[in-house]
């Protein structure tokens, strides 16, 4: 899942970005409002983490401009301003959640995951696709009762496919939602990672789970 982090305070920006990456998210980070708005408009992010007091365009203005063109991306405001009127204003301008600094990182992570689930219409943290069980909270995957060990990137890819199980997911979709803006990978990498993922998920004696639709993309689960 791809997250945009707009925060001007360097220590916070870097550690949140690192924490999110280690939790399997693809993270782009912007240090001011102008860069943040540019990122937000050029890529379809699943979640935007937005600070309010920013150099350049301030957070609330950025949110207003973003909502004028994009009503889908989930936005969580993370700010030191904790007065109720600030929260109300932020939520009224189209934010989906509000977290006051300082916060516990685990809580931010949980809220971001909740917003991702909402983005794909899933409420339960556990997704079942045929005999595979994907626990988005603990980032654990089991198939036929056996736990599968995945890297962060492989997990992110599988989760993205699982959230859209039964649908055709294009390479571009995968590219846009699983990889970071400045990653060096090209779309061939998607095929390589799908290959790695298949090896781990579709062990010997198990039926296929990731199907290829030539010229379109991939589908998780469903009939051959």
């Amino acid at each position: 899942m791809r997250v945009l982090l707009i925060e001007d305070y360097e220590l916070l920006r870097e550690s949140v970005a690192q924490g999110l990456r280690e939790a399997g998210f693809a993270v782009d980070a912007a240090a001011d409002g102008d860069a943040g708005l540019w990122y937000a408009k050029s890529n379809p992010y699943d979640v935007i983490i937005l600070d309010l007091m920013l150099p350049g365009i301030d957070g609330l203005t950025l949110l207003k401009r973003l909502r004028a063109t994009d009503s889908r991306t989930h936005v969580i405001i993370v700010t030191a301003r904790d007065a109720p009127p600030d929260r109300v204003k932020g939520l009224d301008l189209g934010a989906d959640d509000y977290l006051v600094k300082p916060f516990v990182f685990a809580e931010l992570l949980a809220r971001v995951r909740a917003l991702v689930r909402r983005a794909y219409g899933a409420k339960a943290p556990v997704i079942n696709v045929q005999d595979m069980e994907l626990d988005t909270a603990g980032r654990k995957v089991r198939r036929a009762g056996r736990e599968i060990d995945l890297t962060a990137r492989e997990y992110a890819l599988l989760e993205f496919l699982a959230l859209r199980a039964g649908e055709v997911v294009t390479r571009t979709d995968i590219w846009e939602h699983v990889y970071e803006f400045n990653s060096t990978a090209d779309s061939n990498v998607v095929d390589v990672f799908i290959g790695h993922l298949r090896k781990k998920v579709e062990g010997p004696g198990l039926p296929r789970l990731i199907h290829t639709r030539r010229g379109h993309g991939y589908v998780l689960g469903g009939a051959e």
């Binding site: 305070y9 360097e10 220590l11 916070l12 550690s15 924490g19 240090a31 600094k101 685990a106």
Partner: protein, 497 residues
């Protein structure tokens, strides 16, 4: 303290009573003058009748008196009295008169009226005058031209009791007093109603004021329907409320700023440590996080110190000590800490200083210089110039620190002393510059009895000018306070752009 209502009521009642009493008194006097005048006219007519009966006959004054003609002079129930004298002896007197009346000593030809006590002890009024008795035409000795000089004067006094007049006047007095009292009482009734009605808006305003301010300072007292006399009070109160609201808003904004400035690095620290502790890492990763956190902690430490200093200065708890300080020496000492950073940013430093002593607080001045030099080194453009100068003016010492590559426009120059104000670009800097440095400098200059001012032009020069009192003695300090801080328009150094 008595209420406005009772004060107005009793005041108007008293005034009404006085006005009615004076009017009644004047009316009484006027009526009395008229009645006494009428009484006197009647008395005069009677006296003239008596005088006309008095004749000069056979070389003596004689009264042709017929008691039946004027029964009022007989000894009846209420007699009137008269007596005529001529040449010191009584010629005639009324029959009712047992004793003689006292002859008036200085009777004139014009009648003299006065109140007297009548011989029977009652009050009365008399008229007295001197006259020439009529000469009898039948007198054989009558020689009008020759003996008119020998004809003597006669003096007549006629008096009459005034009981009737007194009764009328007494009745009038009582009537007027009663009218006056009744009028005052009814006027008080009307006034009570008028005063209550007139003061009702005051109660209304008091009620409005009572409702304001408990929870919401943005409330104002509506001036509609407020009486003109109370309008200034309401306006002043509204102004006061506006000032209070602004002060509270400033306080609130400052608190919000403090919260933001402390919470953000705190959030950074917490997240950095939490993410770092989430899994085992390479020693270099730990090292990196520890260093970042240490830098952040130092920044917070400095900010908390500055905030405390500012709070103490705000509460007037900062006292300046008095030491002899050489400005140039102190500036050069302070510079040592910033020289490496200046070299790293390839800054040219120009010194225009000479040894110059003053009496001031060394530690506070050092703190101030550190702030100015830190700003200059941090905000000068790479490869730019910093100029440090001291000059001696007539009553003060002037120190200036300027740097090229200013990011502050001329319009924004006045804002640099606001707490947490930062030029936009400066905001991305982490660590030391939290927007309190120049606020602190301004406070320090206040404590040291000096002045500070900033001039700036975007992408050109940013100059801070300090004016320090030459000595710590009060006259110099006062002189400096009164003197406007003049900023020279000519740039001290020319920008390299």
């Amino acid at each position: 303290m008595r209420s406005l209502q009772s004060r107005l009521l009793w005041g108007t009642a008293g005034a009404t009573l006085v006005v009615f009493a004076v009017a009644g008194f004047i009316l009484f006097i006027a009526v009395r003058v008229v009645l006494v005048g009428e009484f006197d006219s009647a008395l005069d007519a009677k006296a003239r009748a008596v005088a006309s009966l008095t004749e000069w006959k056979r070389h003596r004054v004689h009264l042709e008196w017929d008691a039946g003609q004027m029964p009022e002079f007989s000894a009846a129930q209420r007699p009137e009295y008269f007596e005529i004298w001529s040449g010191g002896t009584t010629i005639a007197r009324a029959g009712a008169l047992r004793d003689h009346l006292a002859p008036p000593t200085d009777a004139r030809f014009e009648p003299l009226h006065e109140f007297v006590r009548l011989p029977d002890g009652r009050g009365g009024r008399q008229v007295a005058f001197r006259f020439k008795p009529r000469a009898d035409e039948d007198d054989v000795d009558h020689q009008p031209a020759a003996n008119s000089g020998a004809r003597p004067d006669a003096i007549l006094v006629v008096s009459r009791e005034t009981a009737e007049l007194d009764r009328v006047l007494a009745r009038l007095r009582w009537l007027l007093a009663a009218v006056c009292g009744a009028a005052t009482i009814s006027a008080m009734g009307v006034m009570a109603w008028v005063v209550r009605a007139g003061l009702r808006p005051v109660g209304g305003v008091a009620g409005r004021i009572a409702r304001v301010g408990n929870s919401n300072l943005s409330d104002r007292i509506a001036p509609q329907g407020v009486p003109a006399e109370l309008l200034p009070v309401v306006e002043r109160l509204n102004e006061l409320l506006a000032r209070l609201e602004a002060a509270f808003a400033r306080e609130k904004a400052f608190t919000a700023d403090v919260a933001h400035e402390l919470r953000t690095p705190l959030a950074g620290l917490e997240t950095a440590l939490e993410v770092c502790a989430a899994r085992p890492r390479e020693p270099t990763a730990y090292e990196k996080v520890v260093n970042s956190c240490l830098r952040t902690t130092r920044g917070m430490h400095a900010m908390v110190d500055t905030l405390l200093l500012l709070a103490r200065a705000d509460a007037s708890q900062l006292a300046a000590s008095q030491e002899t300080v050489d400005l140039e020496k102190l500036l050069r000492e302070c510079w040592i800490a910033y020289a490496p950073a200046a070299a790293e940013r390839r800054l040219t430093v120009e010194w225009d200083t000479s040894a110059m002593q003053t009496t001031t607080d060394r530690d506070k001045l050092r703190l101030l210089f550190n702030n100015l030099l830190d700003n200059a080194v941090s905000y000068a453009d790479v490869g730019g110039t910093i100029r440090i100068a001291i000059a001696e003016l007539s009553s003060s010492l002037q120190a200036t620190v300027s740097n090229t590559g200013s990011r502050v426009s001329a319009d924004e120059a006045a804002q640099v002393f606001e707490r947490f104000w930062r030029g936009d670009a400066a905001r991305t800097d982490t660590g030391r510059h939290c927007g309190l440095g120049l606020s602190l400098c301004q406070k320090i200059m206040e404590v040291l009895g000096g002045k500070i001012a900033v001039t700036s032009a975007k992408n050109s020069l940013f100059t801070v000018t300090l004016m320090l009192p030459r000595a710590s003695r009060e006259p110099e300090r006062q002189a400096l306070r009164d003197q406007p801080l003049r900023m020279s328009d000519e740039p001290l150094i020319h920008a390299t752009h």
